[in-house]
């Protein structure tokens, strides 16, 4: 009897130990998120102690590395914004159109073949897209616009934007397809029974029902475009350029982060720390986009009581 009890006691301690280990492991993810936040935040604060926060947000001149260095990030934000806009202009219609085809028109068999094929696009490393943008797409754009008599830069925002858009297609198509497929069939049937054509049903009934999910997918794609690094590092420019001309070279937040941290700079100089200030802005924007996206998808799930998304 005694031996049995001591074994039981031994087991209890072991169980507690295992449970404790598991909790510790689970807490690492929290540690990481806060690790990312604080490691960026502290360095960014250090930067803003040296340079004005206000000028960083609104200033139009970005000139690190010189004696009278200036850190006005507005042209960097505008470049990021424009390239992201181009990417979304490519990815949103194509991604959504593909999603509609897969969920509404394609047979289940065709859909199960098409979806993994599209997801190959998501599996291609971004450095490969970057090489493709720089070597194939950019020269093509330059040649094309030279034919039209317009001069385009080899680092044009258009080239990196288009390739980035192609990269984001599966992000949008995959989630949108899940969401559109999750819209109850009864809605479609009701609409078709009333004499609506297939496209009218999709446009007036299915898409509005799936809208929260589609917006969520779009926001996810947006945050991916904003944080994308390799494509823009390889195909977009380094020059902060406050302009609307998408054929000119532009730079993005991520390009400037890489540029500030590659090479032998002193770590505590404003040149290097500016990367963390830019990183902080990027972190906040993508986090907010993600939180909205998750909230929208949860709302959609609750509305149709789906657990599989």
């Amino acid at each position: 009897m005694k031996a049995f009890e001591s074994k039981k006691r031994h087991n209890e301690i072991k169980e507690q130990l295992i449970k404790f280990t598991l909790i510790t492991a689970a807490s690492v993810s929290i540690l990481t998120t806060f690790g990312v936040l604080f490691s960026i935040l502290f360095e960014a604060i250090e930067f803003f102690q040296m340079r004005s926060f206000w000028y960083f947000i609104t200033g139009t001149e970005w000139s690190p590395g010189v004696a009278d260095s200036k850190f006005g990030a507005l042209p960097i934000f505008s470049g990021t914004f424009i390239i992201t806009l181009i990417a979304m202009a490519v990815a949103l219609p194509i991604g959504l159109g593909s999603a509609i085809f897969m969920s509404e028109y394609a047979s289940p068999k065709l859909r199960s073949k098409l979806k993994p094929l599209l997801e190959i696009l998501a599996g291609i490393p971004t450095v490969v897209y970057g090489f493709f943008a720089a070597i194939t797409v950019a020269p093509f754009i330059v040649n094309f616009f030279t034919l039209l008599g317009v001069q385009a830069s080899f680092n044009s925002a258009l080239a990196s934007g288009i390739v980035m858009g192609i990269m984001i297609i599966p992000v949008i198509s995959s989630l949108s397809d899940d969401v559109i497929s999750a819209v109850p069939d009864s809605q479609r049937k009701a609409s078709l029974a009333l004499g609506m054509t297939m496209s009218e049903t999709i446009k007036n009934i299915v898409l509005p029902s799936a809208l929260p999910g589609i917006i969520s997918a779009t926001l996810l794609g947006l945050s991916k475009a904003l944080g994308e690094t390799m494509i823009v590092v390889m195909a977009a420019g380094l020059r902060p350029n406050l302009s609307w001309n998408i054929l000119e070279d532009m730079t993005t937040v991520t390009v400037r982060i890489v540029d500030a941290l590659v090479g032998d700079h002193e770590f505590n100089s404003p040149d290097t720390l500016s990367a963390f200030a830019l990183g902080l802005i990027l972190f906040i924007v993508t986090l907010v986009l993600n939180i909205i996206s998750v909230a929208l998808i949860r709302k959609f799930k609750e509305k149709y009581k789906i657990n599989t998304l």
Binding site: N11, K14, E15, I18, K19, L22, A25, A26, V28, S29, I30, T32, T33, G35, V36, S39, I40, E43, I94, L96, G97, S98, I100, F101, M102, E104, Y105, L114, L117, L118, I120, L121, G123, I124, P125, T126, V127, V128, F132, A134, I135, I166, I169, S173, T197, M198, S199, E200, S223, G227, M230, V233, M234, T254, L261, V262, F283, T286, L287, N290
Partner: protein, 395 residues
């Protein structure tokens, strides 16, 4: 019924004049969606084709058969080992290697051998029909040699047996491949147990309280943080705070581990969830403790699913470049790293470095590197799919 058919369409009370318009609109919409998916897929085909066309030439390299004399004089000044007229044709890297050749096989000493010699990248580009810059004097020699069959393309072993080099014809992927393996080893050693343990805790042990919800939201956000920010974390925490060696697979692996963690957690949770509750109930019925049930019954059943997710996570980490650039893993690494503490580079970073080189010869090497990387990634994903198909249990 017949009556209605005989009447003209406009007499039909159900006739809608806009109907044909609406139908063609519906057709147009369908065609639009098909165009979308065809565009996306044709891009994929074009893209892969473009890489293969650009990359294939790099698997061959030009060699020339000439006399090479090995003696004390030529070892001291390797330029003299070959005829003067070939000096602008033969690769500097090959000449530089002559003392090593003699060291490896001493019987070569004081002989003159007719061997296949690596030529420089301009000649190689000429052989491949690309743009080249060669003086007319050398061009004539090359054309002669080519006509005699003494200058030809052979399989490019250097690409797989050499590290990076500033001499295009002598650069290879080996050190990057070894760097990738070391880095991913660190990644998986850290991320796999962490991820699985987190998933087990959340799925099997956690009560649905605030803390658990907080962890879940966090994992979700972690997956959405741009990868470059993990590089900032690696730089600020691992390198500056902990003082780990810059550019090393250790730091790179740890950084990638944090990025891979959410992928492994999410897929492991799905795998654990797919194990039916009856298994757990049966275990409890036999008097097993929770830990015993999870450890001996649930985890083994969920393992194929966990492996599948981990392999996909691994493939993801393998293609990641941005955070590794930030922590300095784009250094010039001619020799393979021997341990996880030495400076190293990884395959995507090597591709990035080559893509930025001015010489034309690097473009084909970049594309060839991409082909190697993509084949590894595709094999990994195929392995994951096979695992899933083979061990998938329908409950």
């Amino acid at each position: 019924m017949k009556n209605i058919n005989n009447k003209t369409l406009s007499d039909n009370p159900f006739y809608d004049p806009s109907l044909s318009k609406r139908h063609s609109k519906a057709r147009r919409f369908k065609i639009f969606t098909i165009t979308c998916i065809v565009f996306a897929l044709s891009f994929l085909v074009f893209f892969l084709g473009d890489m293969i066309v650009k990359g294939l030439p790099a698997f061959q390299q030009s060699y020339m058969q000439i006399d090479v004399s090995y003696n004390d004089k030529t070892i001291a000044s390797t330029r003299k080992a070959i005829d003067k007229k070939y000096r602008r044709i033969v690769s500097r890297a090959w000449l530089r290697n002559i003392p090593n050749q003699v060291e490896e096989s001493p019987e070569l000493m004081n002989t003159t051998q007719s061997t296949w010699v690596l030529v420089n990248h301009q000649v190689d580009q000429y052989m491949k029909g690309h743009y080249f810059k060669i003086k007319s004097k050398e061009l004539k020699i090359i054309e002669d040699m080519h006509a005699q069959g003494k200058l030809q393309l052979q399989f490019n072993r250097i690409f797989f047996t050499q590290g990076d080099s500033k001499i295009p014809e002598n650069s290879g992927l080996k050190s990057a491949i070894i760097g990738s393996i070391l880095t991913l080893l660190v990644t998986m050693v850290v991320a796999f147990p962490m991820g699985v343990m987190t998933a087990v805790y959340l799925e099997e042990f956690a009560d649905d309280n605030r803390w658990t919800q907080f962890i879940e939201v966090n994992i979700n956000n972690l997956a959405a943080i741009p990868s470059i920010l993990f590089g900032l974390l690696g730089l600020a925490v691992f390198i500056n705070l902990f003082g780990l060696p810059r550019s090393s697979p250790l730091v790179g692996g740890l950084t990638l581990a944090l990025m891979t963690l959410p992928i492994i957690i999410v897929s492991s949770r799905a795998a654990l969830r797919s194990v039916p509750d009856s298994i757990r109930q049966a275990g409890y019925g036999l008097g097993l403790t929770k830990v015993q049930v999870v450890q001996d019954h649930v985890l083994p059943l969920a393992f194929p699913g966990i492996m599948t997710g981990s392999i996909i996570g691994l493939a993801h980490a393998m293609g990641e470049t941005a955070p590794l650039i930030i922590i300095g893993m784009i250094a010039f690494i001619p020799d393979s790293p021997g341990s996880i503490f030495e400076a190293a580079t990884v395959m995507p970073a090597q591709i990035f470095t080559w893509a930025g080189m001015p010489e034309r010869a690097y473009i084909e090497r970049t594309a060839a590197g991409i082909m190697v990387l993509l084949s590894v990634l595709i094999s990994l994903n195929a392995l994951a799919i096979i695992l899933r198909k083979k061990f998938e249990v329908k409950w």
